[in-house]
Amino acid sequence: MAAPSAPPVPTVRGRRSGRRDDTRLALLFILPASIGLLVFYFWPLVRGIWLSFTSWDLLSPAEFVGLDNYREMVADPVFWNAVRVTLLYVVINIGLQTVVALVIAVLMQRLSRSTLLRSLVLAPYLVSNVVAALVFLWILDFQLGIGNQLLEWVGLERIGFFTSETWAIPTIAVVNVWRHMGYTALLIFAGLQAIPPTTYEAARVDGASEVRTFFGITLPLLRPILGLVLIISVIGSFQVFDTVAVTTNGGPVDASRVLQLYIYDKAFGQFDFGYASALSVAMLLILVVVTFFQYRMTRAGQTDLN
């Protein structure tokens, strides 16, 4: 690595002590971002939490009702169903997506550096959620879709991908995997690129196999990025809305009535914004807990490289 130069000389700036304290500089550097944070995230968050303790129909002044919304929520079977359905969706979606994205990223790095390949892989992300859902609605249509035609051709029974209670959530999960796998793969790919090739060289010199290299070196060094990817993906996945609204709208019956769908219905469909806020706070709390554990488990706050 760097040839050791002269032994460290005392810093020219005599006033500062050996341990640098960058507080003032740091505050300057986070200033623009903090403005954005306070105005566009923090204030709405605080306001939203406040609203969850009120009854508000968007158009008349809000009325304080204390914990009523939360009491109602705990007793609301639709809410609990929504949590269950959303959790199921997140597990299927993230599980599948992370594995597929990891495979794609590794393939992209090993097989070919072609930028064409990378742009093709990213292409699904360029399509809006709504359009992707519509296209798959057609492709997987029970009667007229190519998907079911293929199934029949192979000798299997047709499947109501969006109309069957067992298949609705997995199908929606797969549609979103299709859309996001390239994007996630790109993130992981960026992480792979950041691993110095010298580490691979060292492993090669030691005679390690590809698989061993992957699990012993690549994965651990990817941890910060993988941690980020998982956290981001889970947070996004929990808030799934467009795809469900377009394809099943919560059906059949309640099999795909995810939390965000319920929230939107309450807020804009029934003008019950106080309750919708309480539901959102519940979702927020779930996300905070999940993220906290993810962060710890993947130790995304640390890096093995420095």
Binding site: A33, R204, T303
Partner: protein, 320 residues
């Protein structure tokens, strides 16, 4: 991306091609192993799955709406017609459009394209820059409340969309920015928690030796930021820039809320015309698919251009 010359004295039996050579005259010799065949097979399957829906979109875009239902499983365009694309570029008269199953609204395509480009470019430039600054503060600067403040930023990642929508809209209105491009850009202009988080993870990984060396040489931390961290992170910065651009380009609901006239209409909102306009009628399929393809094209081009840049910029690890 980070390409180095291979150490010539590394005789290995396992062909590990991840460290490619940069010397042009030397041909890469790769042995065809079962592993590679399998890898390519998987890649091809991935590509097929990724691209088939796009083929479907193209085929539908080149069909006529009325005939679509009669031959819905045909792999070729049904009743070939350029109508979908014509409607996207605003080249059809209202009567023609309605007759072919499209909407009667007029589309000033190039205006909307320009608006989208302005919005996406400015948002990306500002957002990435400010986020990089903050990411630097959270990864390479030492200060007392670093972790706590970062946790707050991380928290904002989870703020439900429904909380931010109306307050932001009310704010934009009070600032008098309704129906302006600035109004559309405002919430995204300063940062997103994702960008900060992402860049921080990468800045953390930048080796400290170079930084130490520069600091010893008397550089300020600000200088380090601009002259060392950023150049060494061109890859991640480019990645987040592209992703931000795409995100901003594809944003639909917020621009829909803020824009009232053509002054501030962006492409996605304008192309929302191809969605179902009335309850129970389907969308203008041909137009919608054509619109999606046309809207995706600038970004694919952008990506190809910039990705090439990343590959070509010899990313040095800086330590030799």
């Amino acid at each position: 991306m980070t390409e180095t010359t291979t150490a010539p004295a590394a005789p290995t039996t396992v062909p590990a091609p991840e460290t490619g050579t940069t010397a042009p005259p030397r041909r890469r010799r790769r042995r065809v192993t079962p592993g590679r065949v399998l890898a390519w097979a998987v890649m091809i399957i991935v590509l097929l799955v990724t691209l088939f829906p796009f083929y479907w979109m193209l085929r539908t875009a080149l069909s006529s709406n009325g005939a679509l239902y009669a031959n819905s499983t045909s792999l070729l365009p049904v009743d070939f017609s350029w109508g979908g694309f014509e409607r996207v570029f605003g080249l059809q008269s209202t009567e023609e459009a309605i007759a072919q199953g499209g909407s009667g609204a007029s589309i000033d395509f190039w205006l909307y394209l320009r608006n989208s480009v302005v919005v996406a470019t400015v948002v990306t430039a500002c957002q990435v820059f400010f986020s990089a600054m903050a990411a630097y503060a959270f990864s390479r600067l030492r200060w007392r409340w670093r972790n706590a403040v970062f946790a707050v930023f991380l928290l904002s990642l989870m703020v439900p969309v429904i909380f931010t929508l109306l307050p932001n809209f009310v704010l934009v209105r009070e600032l008098g920015l309704i129906d302006t491009l600035l109004g559309i850009m405002l919430p995204g202009l300063f940062m997103t928690p994702f960008a900060i988080f992402f860049l921080r993870q990468f800045f953390m990984n930048v080796s400290t030796e170079v930084e130490e060396a520069a600091l010893i040489d008397g550089a300020s931390k600000v200088r380090v930021f601009f002259s060392i961290i950023i150049p060494m992170s061109v890859g991640p910065i480019a990645t987040i820039a592209i992703l931000t651009y795409i995100g901003s380009w594809n944003d639909y609901f917020w621009p829909l809320m803020v824009s009232y006239t053509d002054d501030s209409r962006v492409l996605t909102v304008a192309l929302g015309n191809f969605n179902a306009q009335t309850p129970q009628t389907g969308p203008d399929w041909a137009g919608l698919m054509a619109a999606t393809l046309v809207a995706a094209l600038p970004m694919i081009l952008l990506f190809v251009v910039f990705a090439r840049r990343i590959v070509n910029s010899i990313g040095f690890s800086g330590i030799k």
